[in-house]
Every structure is written in structure tokens, then in C-alpha cells.
């Protein structure tokens, strides 16, 4: 079992904050860690890893997820969930950062967990929160996400969808757009393009009323192990299919 196996130390950030982590658990989730701690069979295995460019706060979230899921699976019935961002201890940007960290070190699970936290925060939780609590992605956070992800990223899609829902949502009702919108959108065409692209997929037609819409199910924003598409179906077709059901 990983519990009784060796423990390695990870030093994070410029201040080299130390974490003692069970090597087997860590390596079972990530090729990156696996390569580092188990890579060369001919040499003594590494016992330490330095990640000077990562944020210790994000790594703490990763470790919490790592052990949370490990124990939830081994007996506990509760599935591990991150706490919703509260703006103080943990923010929306932290979860975006966690998502990016997950991408970099290749841990799919933590990426999905980060998506879940934001999904709940902007979606079901926001509806329960009452009319005055208007939640929408800060466009500087969106820019942060776009700077550190590839175009097919689910995080991009989630954030863009919520930005548009805010734009057309009832809660805003004619209030002016936040200043960040101008600042970000005038400089970053990629984000604006992503918004326009999604809007065009909604297929609104002038003269008809705008339909009431809901964000797609949580799972639609999760990453899954790659399964090859059935033969005969061009990859493009599949993409179109999923996108027509988008955000309805």
C-alpha cells in the first residue's frame, strides 16, 4: 500500500515550502512525478523535488485533493469536494491556478475537482444565493486562464459560458459592464473571439425571443481518459454534435 511506502519531500515556491508526500500516491496520479521519483531504475531514486515556480498555496490545495480523494476512495462514502471560493482563504483565481497546475503536472482528477468547485460557485450556488449576489467571472481571471491554457481547455469554456450568462442574465438588468471587460477585451482578441464563437453556436435569430438557458451538466466540463471515436465518424462531426446542445 502507498501508506506504508516511502515518503518524499517537495519544496514549493521560491521560499521552498516543504511537503512530505507519499511517493506512491503522488506517482500513481501523475506521470510527471512518476518520472521524477521513479524515473531511472539504475540510480538511487530521488527523494526531493524542487518546484520553485509554483505557488505553495496551490500546491497545498493539490495535496488536500490528493489525500482527500485517496481516503474518500478507501472506505469513506463522501466524495471529495473543494470548499467554494470565499474570496478570503481561497478565491476563484486559486481554483483556476489549481487547474493550470493540474494541467502542467498532468493530474486530470485535480483539474476536474477545480472545475467542480467553480461550476458550483457560478451555477447552482449562485442561484440559491439570492438576487443581490451577482456572481460572474472576473475577466482578469479569465485572462489568467487563457494565458496558461491551450485552446481546447474546458476551463476556458466554463468561464466564457458564465461570462455570457452574466452578460445576458436577468440579475444584471442594464447595469454597466465592469471596467475589467473593456481593459481585457480591448487587448485580448482571443477571449473576445471565444465569446463570439460560443454566441454564434447558440443560434439566436433576431425577432424571436431569447430562450431561457441553463449551463450544461457538470460532467460536460470534465476531462476523461481518451477513448478513440467510433470508426466512420469524422472527429469534426462529433464536436459539432456536442456543441449544438451547448448551454441550453
Amino acid at each position: 500500500s502507498w501508506l506504508t511506502d516511502r515518503i518524499v519531500t517537495v519544496h514549493v515556491g521560491p521560499e521552498e515550502k516543504k511537503w512530505a508526500v507519499h511517493a506512491k500516491l503522488l506517482c500513481s496520479k501523475s506521470m510527471f512525478f512518476d518520472r521524477h521519483f521513479n524515473g531511472d531504475a539504475n540510480q538511487d531514486p530521488n527523494e526531493e523535488l524542487f518546484l520553485p515556480h509554483e505557488d505553495p498555496k496551490l500546491f497545498a490545495l493539490l495535496v488536500r485533493w490528493l489525500y482527500g480523494t485517496a481516503f474518500a476512495n478507501s472506505g469513506g462514502t463522501r466524495i471529495f469536494r473543494f470548499a467554494p471560493p470565499d474570496g478570503k482563504d481561497v478565491t476563484v483565481r486559486d481554483y483556476i491556478g489549481l487547474y493550470i497546475l493540474g494541467e502542467k503536472i498532468e493530474i486530470m482528477g485535480v483539474k476536474n475537482a477545480a472545475i467542480d468547485a467553480l461550476y458550483a460557485y457560478f451555477g447552482p450556488d449562485a442561484e440559491k444565493a439570492g438576487p443581490d449576489d451577482i456572481r460572474h467571472p472576473d475577466l482578469t481571471d479569465v485572462r489568467y486562464a487563457f494565458d496558461n491554457t491551450t485552446p481546447d481547455s474546458h476551463m476556458r469554456r466554463l468561464l466564457i459560458a458564465h461570462a455570457l450568462f452574466y452578460l445576458f442574465g436577468k440579475k444584471r438588468r442594464g447595469a454597466p459592464l465592469p471596467t475589467a471587460w473593456e481593459e481585457v477585451l480591448s487587448n485580448n482578441g482571443e477571449i473576445a473571439w471565444a465569446m463570439i464563437k460560443m454566441l454564434s453556436d447558440w443560434k439566436w435569430v433576431m425577432g424571436s425571443n431569447v430562450p431561457d438557458m441553463k449551463i450544461k451538466a457538470r460532467q460536460e466540463f470534465h476531462e476523461r481518459p481518451y477513448v478513440p471515436p467510433p470508426p466512420g465518424l469524422a472527429p469534426g462531426e462529433q464536436v459539432i454534435k456536442t456543441e449544438t446542445r451547448d448551454e441550453e
Binding site: H36, L51, K104, G189, Y226, V239
Partner: protein
């Protein structure tokens, strides 16, 4: 590394220069790392740092550029650092070894050069492989985010492919173009490997591990970067050449063996080569080849000239069989069953050899002179009896024939043992071979016209002799074998006839143990069915009933207190006509002479018969008893009075003997009771008084007046034959050392039939067959109503297969007969018949 289907869209960023300016320093970092890795200097590199760098490049959308740069770097590295070293190893001598046949260099030289070249390739490959593993680790994110979303091969695959394109498929510039045929490094590699393997085949020791490493290298490399399983370079390039080269090698070897050696060592050599090649696949090249190379050895070394080897004088298949070369046959069987599931190449010669040997037995039989049995047959235990009988005198013609019959069966059984031994020990109890051998046995046995009779005689002999000499277990084994022979016989009805005859004699004369007899019949029953043995069982039943009846009758007589019978003790065998052979029942005699002949019994006997008949009818009215004089026997107490004038020796005393004779013998002897001293009776007189059939009387008189042991009658003249003109008188001078004397009962000796008898038997058998065929035809037609001629014939043959193989002409004749008798009628216009109810 898998990922969701995704697309990389062209970058739309306002500040393009930023990306390019950030890429170059990152690439420089990676490039420096690549150099370190190749120089095996990777210890000082930080994996995290390099990973982050390549991650950054991918986020900058420069994955494609990184991918190309890495490949360019590797190509450059091959050109500048690897190829020069390999080119150095390819000396002109090595090229000669590879392309000039026959090789001019010595084996040692070739091996040395070849191995150092292979070592160079191996080292380059191993270094490259290790390096590329590290590179793939560093560029893990590139593979995940960039390579997998494009159609490109992973960086590891791509860089391994470079080894194929830039090392193996390198044409070496001038070194190769100088020659007539340009060549690649790969060609030399192949040639060197094949040369080394051939050296090993010739008995040299080579570095197997080295070849194994090179082989797995070729297994790890593919024709294209798509890495399609059957396009491994090992399979596409090396293996075909290896197979071709081996084929040539083994063809030559086969020719050499055919010239210089014999089949036995050829078989052993083939087996050894097969094992060597298997071993080679496991230790030196690849297990992928093992089936293919086995086929090469099988085809080129084994099959190609197999017929010639098997036909070799003194060591071929014939010699293996004749000299019981079990090991040779075992190897041959194993090799053949590997290449040919039908095993025809083994089966056909086996079959014909069985036939030949079987016919040889028959031939020897004809050429053997059984009149001097001690020479030929005496050596074998089975024929001990024949030898015993012929101790002092030559055997009679009949006894010779019998000995021949037993010898025939014995030889057949020995042949069968021989092939059973092959079958069990060499042929892995192969069912196909068993049935092939069985068929040949059946064929030659049935080609021999007297097989049915001989088998029955053999059983007769063993059952009779089983009582003495042999243990029960031994008899058991012999009888088991006899049953095996029975299985081969097709004319089972003929056998049934003979067996019935022989069994009857044994039973009536108490020649065998009844439980052994029953045991034997039980075995036949399980082998050939109930109908076949029903007559035999009836015979046993008759014997039991008779014993019972005799006992009861004896009790009945003693209860009557009748003293008038002169103490004649009656022991009766009451035989049901149908169960017993006609010869025993005296029926054929009646048939021949057309009248019912009853011999005249003396009055004392006659009274006894009447008394018994009366007793018998008390419980069973309406039955008829026929007394068969020819089948019975009698114990007679006789007194030879003192011979006057003899004062010493046995003749001076009165002598009492118990004489065991046939019933006819008794009747004849009783005649002499009434005769005065010196009076004689002629043959004709005896016949007139007794009414005993001529043949039987001849036999009876012969046993009483010729055989020296029991010569109680004197014959005049004292010739060896009985003639109707002879006269007989009481031999008052008769002396015997034993009290109990057995007059030889000629009819009880089972012997081979003479040619006439034989024809007779066959004729009778054919008559029976005709009836059986009739019955079968009617049975079939009754059920089927209408059948074509061929269908009917086939049906009849199938139905009767268990009993005999009917002649088609016989069936045709019976059908015609049935047509005449209006059981059947022809269907108009076709060759078919209709059943008439």
C-alpha cells in the same frame, strides 16, 4: 499519453515577437540538455527545469518547432558522432565476408570481425535508446499536448525511427558505391548475423547474447513510425533473409547426408537440428521465428528427401521394422506427425510391410516341412505339443497340417505383437496408425483362405493344452490374442462353424476345462454379439443338463435295485440337435446315404438305452432320442487270461485293464467276447453284425489293432491300413504297463481338414450363407417395399458385415431366386425391385 480529442487553432495573439523571442532561449536550454544526455552527462540536469521549459514552449504554441528541432538535432548527432565510428568498423574485409561467397577469410577471422561490428551497432543503439528515453521524459508535455493532437508519432518513436533511417539505411557514401552493387549498413548487418549463425551451426561458439540484442533491436524498430505490429524490421528484413539462408543451408546438409550417411543418423540429426533451431530462437534471435524455421528444417532437411532415406537399404524404414529399431521409429513418428497430420508417409509403408510380412508367413508355411517338427517348430514353445507328438516318429499328414495351422496363428500373433509394440512405444498410441495397421492385418488374414479354420484350431489347441503346461494367466493372454485375430476375420460364419465343431469335440471328450471354455465364449460374446455365441452357449447348457440327467438316472436305477444291468454305468450327453455341428450328430452320414442308419447295439446296451429312454420320457413326453454311436466313448474293464506256457513275465499272470474306447470300439470289442480262442472275424462280418458305417468302422478297428499302445486286436495281414478284407482276432498276448489304457480316438483329435473336407465345409457354409442372404433380402424389402438393385446390395452387405462379407454375385443370384419364388418383382424400366407381400 492519451488525451481528449482536441484541435490546436492557429494562434491569434497581438504580440507575436514575444513568443519567438521567448522560444529561442528555451530551445537553447533543451539543446544543451540533449548534448549532455548524449554525452551521458545527464546527472547535472534538472528534470523539473527541463520539463517546465518544454511545457512553456508548448504553451507558447511552439510545439511543432520544438518537435522538428529535436529531430534535426538527432540527425546531426548521428552524422557527426555515430556514423564515423560505425563506418570505421566496416572494413573492406568485412564487406567481403558479407558479399563474397564462399567466404575467403577464416572462420575465426570472420567471427572476430563480425562480432566487433555488431558490438558497435549494439552500443550505438543502446546509447541512442537510453538517450531517447530521457528525451521523451523531458518532452512528456510536448507528447501530451502537441504530438497526440497532431498526426505525428511520439517524440520517442520519431527519434527511434531516426536510427533506422540514418544508421541502418545509411549507404555509407563511397564505401558502397565503389562496389558493383551499392549496399546499406543494414545489408552488412544481416550478412554478418547470418554468417555467425551458420558458423554456430557448423560447431563454432559465437556470442549469442550479442545476436540476441541485435535481434531485439530489429524487433523494436519498424518500417514506419506508425509502428504497425507486422512491420517490425525483424520481420520485414531480417527474417525473410534468415529463412532463405537457412533453407539453402539445410538443403545442402540434406544432400550431404544422403550421400554420406544413413537414415538412422539422418533422423537423429534432423531431430537435433530442430531442437537447436528452437533453442536458437529462444537465445539468439527471436521466438517469433521458431515456427517458420522449424518448417524450414522440416521441409528442406526432412521432407525433401524423406522417401529416399526411408528406402535406404539396411537403415531405411524396412530395416527399422524388421530389426525393431524402436528409437528410429519413434523419432520418425515424431517428425512425421509434426509435418503431416495424415501421417501418410509413415502409414503407407507400414501397411505394405505388414502385408508383406503377413504373406511371408503364409509362404514360409508352404515351404516348411512339418514332418520333422523338432527342427522348425520345436524351438518355439507354442509348438511344443507338436514336437512332443513327433518324438520318435514322423507326424501323420493331418497332424502336420495342424501344426502348420498353429504355427501360422502363432506367427501372425507374433507379427501383431511386434507392431503393437511399435504402436505403444514408438507411435504414441496413435489411433490413425492403429487403424491402418489393423486394416492391413485384416487384409492379409482374410486373403489367406484358411484363416477361420486356423484360428479356431489354434484356440482348440490352447484350450486343450491349457490344462497342462501353462498357467491360467498364460492361457488367458493367448486367448486374448486369439480374440484379437477374431476381430480381423470377415468370414465369421465360417469361423463359427469350425469353432462349433472343435468345441463339440472338446466338450464330448472332456478335453478342456469347462470354465475356461465359458470364459472364452464370454469374450467372443462381448466382441461379436449374442447371436454369434448362442449356439455355443446352448452347447454348454446341454452339457450341464446332461450331467444332471445322468446323476438323476443313476439315483433312479440304484433306487430300483436293478441288478440286471451288469453294472453298466451310463453317462449320457443329451445334445440339442440345432446347437451341435451336424458331423457330431451323425446327420451328414444319413444325408449322404439316404437311409437312416442305426448301428446294432449289443443287447445289454440296448436294454440300458431303453431303460433310460423310459426314464427320460417320464417327465418329457413326445421327445425323440437318437443315439449317436460315433460321438460317445466307453470305459471297458477287460480281463486277459494267463497265457498258457508262459511262466514268467507279465504274460504269466492274468491281466486286468481298463480300456477307454469309442462307443463303436465298445460294440466291436463286445463281439469278441462271444468268440472262442483262435476264432477270427473279418471286417465284413463285423460290419454286418454292428451296422457301423464303413468309415467309422475303419477308424475304430485301426485304433484297436494298429496303435501299439492299445493293440487288443490282432489284424491279419499286419499292415498299417485297414482293408475290408482284413480279419481280426483277440490279442491274448496283450500287455500294457499301465492299467488304464486309452485307445486313440481318432475322431476326437481336432485337425486341419483335408482339401476335400474343406471344400465340403465351404459348400455347406455357402448353403447356409444363401439362406442368410435370402433372409436378409426379405427382411430389408419387407421394410423398404421398393429399392434399387445397388441400394439393396449395399443394404445386404451392411446388414451382414458382422457375420461375413457376402459376394455380390451371390446376392444377385439370391435376388434372382427370390424373383422366381415371387417374393420380389422387378419394377418396370429400372433396375429396382418391389416386395410382394
Amino acid at each position: 499519453m492519451s488525451s481528449r480529442p482536441s484541435r490546436i487553432r492557429p494562434v491569434r495573439r497581438p504580440i507575436i515577437n514575444k513568443e519567438t523571442s521567448e522560444f529561442e532561449p528555451c530551445w537553447q536550454t533543451i539543446r544543451d540538455a540533449l548534448v549532455d544526455i548524449h554525452k551521458q552527462n545527464a546527472g547535472r540536469l534538472s528534470f523539473e527545469h527541463l520539463y517546465r521549459t518544454s511545457y512553456k514552449i508548448v504553451l507558447l504554441r511552439k510545439g511543432d518547432l520544438l518537435y522538428e528541432r529535436v529531430k534535426e538535432f538527432e540527425e546531426e548527432w548521428f552524422r557527426d558522432h555515430i556514423m564515423p565510428r560505425i563506418a570505421d568498423l566496416i572494413s573492406p574485409n568485412l564487406v567481403n565476408v558479407a558479399f563474397v561467397q564462399p567466404p575467403t577469410a577464416s572462420a575465426h577471422e570472420r567471427r572476430h570481425m563480425g562480432e566487433s561490428f555488431l558490438r558497435g551497432i549494439r552500443d550505438a543503439w543502446q546509447d541512442h535508446n537510453t538517450s531517447m528515453n530521457m528525451v521523451a521524459d523531458i518532452l512528456m508535455y510536448l507528447d501530451r499536448a502537441y504530438t497526440s493532437s497532431t498526426k505525428n508519432a511520439s517524440i520517442y518513436t520519431a527519434t527511434l525511427g531516426l536510427f533506422r533511417d540514418h544508421i541502418l539505411k545509411n549507404s555509407l557514401g563511397t564505401a558502397s558505391t565503389d562496389r558493383e552493387h551499392p549496399f546499406l549498413v543494414f545489408d552488412i548487418l544481416n550478412a554478418v548475423m547470418l554468417d555467425l549463425i551458420n558458423l554456430e551451426r557448423d560447431g563454432h561458439v559465437i556470442d549469442r547474447n550479442l545476436l540476441r540484442t541485435i535481434s531485439s533491436m530489429l524487433e523494436d524498430l519498424y518500417e514506419t513510425d506508425e509502428e504497425i505490429e507486422h512491420q517490425k524490421l525483424y520481420l520485414t528484413v531480417f527474417e525473410p533473409r534468415y529463412i532463405e539462408n537457412s533453407s539453402v543451408f539445410y538443403r545442402n546438409e540434406c544432400e550431404k547426408f544422403l550421400r554420406d550417411s544413413d537414415a538412422s543418423s539422418w533422423l537423429r540429426h534432423t531431430r537435433r537440428r530442430l531442437m537447436e533451431e528452437q533453442d536458437r530462437c529462444e537465445t539468439t534471435i527471436s521466438i517469433l521465428t521458431s515456427d517458420k524455421i522449424a518448417r524450414v528444417v522440416q521441409t528442406d532437411l526432412f521432407l525433401s528427401r524423406m522417401d529416399e532415406f526411408l528406402a535406404m537399404e539396411g537403415s531405411g524404414l524396412r530395416s527399422m521394422i524388421d530389426n525393431d529399431r524402436l528409437e528410429d521409429l519413434t523419432i520418425l513418428y515424431q517428425l512425421i506427425s509434426q509435418v503431416d497430420r495424415t501421417k501418410t508417409p509413415l502409414m503407407v509403408p507400414l501397411q505394405s510391410r505388414v502385408m508383406e510380412l503377413g504373406l511371408e508367413i503364409e509362404q514360409t508355411l508352404k515351404n516348411t516341412d512339418f514332418s520333422v517338427p523338432a527342427t522348425g517348430a520345436g524351438a518355439e514353445g507354442e509348438d511344443g505339443d507338436a514336437a512332443e507328438k513327433g518324438k520318435s516318429q514322423t507326424l501323420t499328414a493331418a497332424a502336420q497340417q495342424t501344426a502348420a495351422a498353429i504355427k501360422w496363428v502363432d506367427d501372425v500373433l507374433q507379427l501383431k505383437d511386434k507392431f503393437d509394440n511399435f504402436w505403444a512405444n514408438c507411435f504414441d498410441k496413435d489411433i490413425m496408425i492403429q487403424s491402418a495397421i489393423t486394416k492391413s492385418f485384416s487384409d492379409f488374414i482374410n486373403m489367406f483362405p484358411r484363416s477361420s479354420e486356423f484360428v479356431s484350431l489354434f484356440i482348440d489347441d490352447n484350450l486343450k493344452r491349457g490344462i497342462r503346461g501353462k498357467t491360467e494367466a498364460e492361457v488367458d493372454v493367448v486367448l486374448d490374442k486369439a480374440i484379437v485375430l477374431l476381430r480381423y476375420l470377415t468370414d465369421r460364419d465360417l469361423f463359427e462353424r469350425y469353432y462349433q465343431k472343435h468345441l463339440a469335440r472338446r466338450l464330448l471328450h472332456g478335453k478342456s476345462e469347462i470354465h475356461t471354455e465359458k470364459e472364452m465364449v464370454l469374450r467372443m460374446k462381448s466382441e461379436m454379439g449374442k447371436i454369434f455365441t448362442s449356439k455355443f452357449e446352448g452347447m454348454f447348457k446341454d452339457m450341464e443338463l446332461s450331467k444332471d440327467l445322468t446323476d438323476k438316472y443313476r439315483d433312479h436305477i440304484s433306487s430300483l435295485g436293478d441288478v440286471d444291468t451288469k453294472k453298466i454305468d451310463l453317462n449320457i450327453s443329451l445334445l440339442t440337435t440345432n446347437n451341435w455341428p451336424p458331423e457330431v450328430m451323425g446327420r451328414n452320414v444319413n444325408q449322404e446315404e439316404g437311409t437312416k442308419l442305426e448301428c446294432t447295439y449289443p443287447s445289454g446296451i440296448k436294454r440300458l438305452q431303453e431303460s433310460f429312454f423310459k426314464y427320460y420320457l417320464k417327465d418329457r413326453s413326445g421327445r425323440v432320442i437318437t443315439w449317436v454311436g460315433s460321438a460317445g466313448s466307453a470305459d471297458i474293464k477287460c480281463v486277459f487270461p494267463k497265457v498258457p506256457g508262459k511262466e514268467s513275465g507279465p504274460l504269466s499272470k492274468e491281466r486286468r485293464y481298463e480300456l477307454h474306447v469309442s462307443t463303436y470300439g465298445m460294440i466291436v470289442l463286445l463281439l469278441f467276447n462271444d468268440l472262442g480262442d483262435g476264432e477270427t472275424l473279418s471286417f465284413e462280418e463285423i460290419q454286418a453284425q454292428t451296422n457301423i458305417p464303413h468309415v467309422d468302422l475303419t477308424r475304430t478297428l485301426a485304433s484297436l489293432s494298429i496303435a501299439p499302445k492299445a493293440r487288443v486286436l490282432l489284424k491279419n495281414p499286419t499292415t498299417k491300413n485297414i482293408k475290408p478284407t482284413d480279419t481280426f482276432s483277440f490279442n491274448s498276448q496283450f500287455v500294457s504297463r499301465t492299467i488304464k489304457i486309452k485307445a486313440p480316438i481318432i475322431s476326437s483329435l481336432s485337425k486341419v481338414e483335408g482339401d476335400d473336407e474343406r471344400k465340403e465345409t465351404e459348400k455347406k457354409n455357402d448353403q447356409t450363407r444363401a439362406h442368410v442372404v435370402d433372409a436378409a433380402i426379405v427382411r430389408i424389402m419387407k421394410q423398404r417395399k421398393q429399392l434399387s438393385h445397388t441400394q439393396l446390395t449395399t443394404e445386404v452387405i451392411t446388414q451382414l458385415a458382422g457375420r461375413f462379407k457376402p459376394d455380390v454375385s451371390l446376392i444377385k443370384k439370391r435376388i434372382e431366386d427370390l424373383l422366381v419364388r415371387e417374393y420380389l418383382e422387378r419394377v418396370e424400366g429400372e433396375s429396382a425391385y418391389k416386395y410382394l407381400a
